[in-house]
């Protein structure tokens, strides 16, 4: 995905502004550290910075996205823009040594070189220490960008030698738009965007048939709450438990149920914008009419309690869901 400065400015206003003014004044640091959660656009921002530096026909700091250099930065074929990512679990010392050898050579095409280290926190200690040497004695015309999700796992000495940029998490509505743009149906996109901040993860989730099914099961559960107890418990055991059999799946299921209650509360308060189950509006409106507000609030509390119990105790998941269902029914 190619990112433009306007997009970066929207998502990460502070980062965009600082990087842009650095470019305008020709004050590019020798090492940057981009930290932020998955999917906050760190890699895209680093490639954008590369394009601004290497573009053949830029207008001001804005790259053209058309020239050979811009295209080759996207395809990973520019010989002076190198990306290093963990080889297996960690970034090995050999990789940093290779990088150091690269540092000592002249650039292939221009007088600038740029290195992007993905998952910098995965550097082994000896690799990080090797990198320190470069960070301490930068070569002119060389820019290093370290990307990390776990800022605190980096060596203090590495952090202190980089200019640090913090990337804010993405607003869910924007992520949802992005997913819709990639062909995900809106109802699923909205839910996925609220469940995770990473665009990759959200995309994978919303393309998973399991996830679409999960949403149906949650809606069905709410419907079953008005049925006799035995029928409800049968539903829990027959449909809910097999579908949410793994721990993380159950966690996600409870979260989906919580969002459903939240939507009901929104409708009762007269807000129909920003509903997560917006395609079910008619059903939800009906449910909201027949259910007192008190019960919705109690229900939300029960779900949160169930979630907390599920995380802190080793309670049987079957019992946990059965208990929750009965609480919600009351």
């Amino acid at each position: 995905m190619t990112m433009r400065w306007e997009q970066l400015a929207k998502r990460q206003p502070v980062v965009a502004k600082m990087l842009q003014s650095g470019l305008e004044k020709g004050r590019i640091s020798h090492a940057y550290l981009f930290e932020g959660r998955r999917g906050t656009g760190k890699k895209a921002a680093s490639l954008l910075l590369a394009k601004s530096l290497f573009c053949l026909s830029p207008s001001g700091v804005f790259p053209c996205f058309q020239c050979r250099n811009c295209r080759r930065i996207d395809s990973g074929n520019h010989p002076d823009v190198r990306v290093i990512s963990p080889d297996g679990e960690t970034i090995k010392k050999e990789q940093i040594e290779w990088l150091q050898r690269e540092f000592t050579k002249t650039a292939v095409e221009s007088d600038k070189k740029m290195y992007i280290v993905e998952h910098a926190e995965q550097m082994t200690t000896s690799a990080a220490n090797s990198l320190l040497k470069f960070l301490e004695e930068p070569h002119p015309g060389t820019v290093a960008v370290l990307l990390t999700e776990q800022y605190h796992r980096l060596l203090e000495t590495v952090i202190s030698r980089c200019q640090v940029f913090s990337f804010r998490p993405l607003p869910p509505s924007e992520l949802a738009d992005q997913l819709v743009g990639e062909g995900v149906p809106l109802p699923l996109a909205l839910l996925a965007a609220h469940l995770t901040n990473s665009d990759d993860e959200a995309l994978a989730l919303s393309q998973d048939r399991w996830f679409a099914e999960a949403r149906t099961v949650v809606l069905q559960l709410y419907e079953m709450l008005s049925k006799p107890e035995l029928q409800l418990l049968f539903f829990v055991n027959d449909r809910w438990i097999p579908h949410f059999s793994e721990k993380h799946q159950l966690d996600l299921g409870l979260q989906l149920l919580f969002y459903l209650y939240r939507d009901l509360l929104h409708i009762q308060a007269g807000q129909t914008d920003g509903l997560l189950y917006s395609d079910q509006l008619e059903r939800l409106q009906q449910w909201a009419l027949t259910c007192p507000q008190r019960r919705i609030l109690d229900g939300m509390e029960a779900i949160l309690q169930a979630k907390a119990r599920f995380h802190t105790t080793n309670m049987s998941t079957v019992l946990l869901v059965e208990q929750l269902a009965l609480q919600l029914k009351r």
Partner: protein, 378 residues
């Protein structure tokens, strides 16, 4: 692009540029070979970003038609497959035609390959050459210069600049220097250029080794062009580019002692063999050290002791021996490397004491020099 080309000429060019293609590259496009067809002929390029080799196939050579360019253009093809395909094609002529989406058809006789190519725009651009900044060195001399210096480059990465050979052009003279901080090899050559040119670059030792392998023997001139990022060696129909090392090469001139307290002249071959014999036992020891002592009557004694294995002593008649008595130890490997690098039958060794570096030169010539630091023994 649409060309038909002589298979043998193509295979030869592919073989040449394949020397630069690395299978372990992080840049996907560099797994390919670039083909460019123009009105003048066909150019093949291979690169691992450190070195790049360009081979040119002219339209005709010695009256034989090699290439017919029907439609100029360029394409990048997977090197691994393309080289194998070219080797095994059945007929003498090969047709290469690109279609939409970089699909490339390779035809020869009744055999037809369809290869998925890459956009040639993605391929790294090699520096543009300004011919007027070229100077020439005959191939044999260039190879000798490389052989005489490149062995002394450092293999350790602690000082990366020392992994290259320093090429310094000043006053119409090219001085090549390599050192790993324990020894130093230097070679001077007069080159026919205007004296106001000055260059000071460091070429990676690995690149020079590759260059030496790919250059044909002979006396044909090699054009050399130095640009800001790269150095280019140009033989007939073959271009060899190498990246340079970035940084300042240490000043080495003042390391070379000018005075001498003991001067020995020996026959290079005899001396080399004696050191080789002495090192047979020393090799097992920790650092391959042999000892050299002067004896009266222009004789030298070479010895080596390894306590667990044994001892070797050998006496050698020097051609001449002047100056103070001397007792010095040094690495046999460095000495043998230096002796092999020097041309000439007789060499002169100048010592300035047992703890100071000493210098080897061919007799009556100061165009080459080898310097070795002695080893301290107790």
């Amino acid at each position: 692009m649409n060309i038909s080309i002589d298979r043998e000429a193509l295979a030869k060019s592919v073989q040449d540029v394949m020397k630069a293609v690395s299978t372990r590259t992080t840049i996907p496009i560099l797994t390919g070979i670039k083909l460019t067809a123009s009105a003048r002929g066909v150019t093949l390029t291979g690169s691992d970003s450190d070195i790049s080799i360009e081979s040119f196939i002219p339209l005709e050579k010695e009256g034989r038609l090699l290439v017919d360019v029907k439609r100029p253009g360029s394409i990048v093809l997977q090197a691994r497959f393309f080289s194998e395909i070219v080797k095994k094609l059945p007929q003498q002529t090969v047709e290469i035609e690109t279609e939409d989406n970089f699909l490339t058809v390779i035809r020869s006789g009744h055999s037809e390959f369809r290869l998925n190519g890459f956009n040639a725009d993605e391929y790294p651009r090699l520096p543009q050459i300004e011919e007027e900044h070229a100077f020439q060195i005959p191939a044999d001399l260039l190879k000798a210069m490389i052989r005489q210096t490149v062995f002394a480059v450092s293999t350790s990465e602690t000082r990366p600049i020392l992994t290259g050979v320093n090429w310094k052009i000043e006053d119409g003279e090219l001085v090549c220097t390599a050192t790993d901080s324990h020894r130093l090899a230097m070679r001077k050559v007069k080159i026919g250029i205007e004296s106001d040119w000055a260059y000071n670059v460091v070429i990676p030792g690995k690149s020079l080794n590759e260059l030496s392998k790919i250059l044909a023997d002979g006396n044909h001139p090699i054009d050399i062009v130095i640009t800001a990022n790269q150095v280019l060696f140009k033989a007939e129909h073959l271009l060899f580019f190498s990246r340079l090392l970035d940084g300042n090469y240490p000043e080495t001139a003042r390391l070379i002692p000018t005075d001498s307290k003991t001067t020995v002249t020996v026959n290079a071959k005899e001396f080399l063999q004696a050191i080789d014999r002495a090192s047979l036992l020393a090799r097992e020891g920790r650092n391959n050290v042999v000892k050299l002592a002067t004896l009266p009557g222009e004789r030298l004694e070479i010895s080596s002791v390894s306590p667990e294995i044994g001892k070797v002593t050998e006496q050698l008649k020097a051609e001449s021996l002047e100056g103070e008595e001397l007792n010095i130890s040094f690495s046999a490997k460095y000495m043998m490397d230096a002796l092999r690098a020097l041309d000439g039958t007789d060499i002169q060794i100048s010592f300035t004491g047992a703890m100071r570096p000493f210098v080897l030169r061919p007799l009556h010539s100061d165009s080459m020099l080898q310097l070795i630091l002695p080893v301290r023994t107790y």
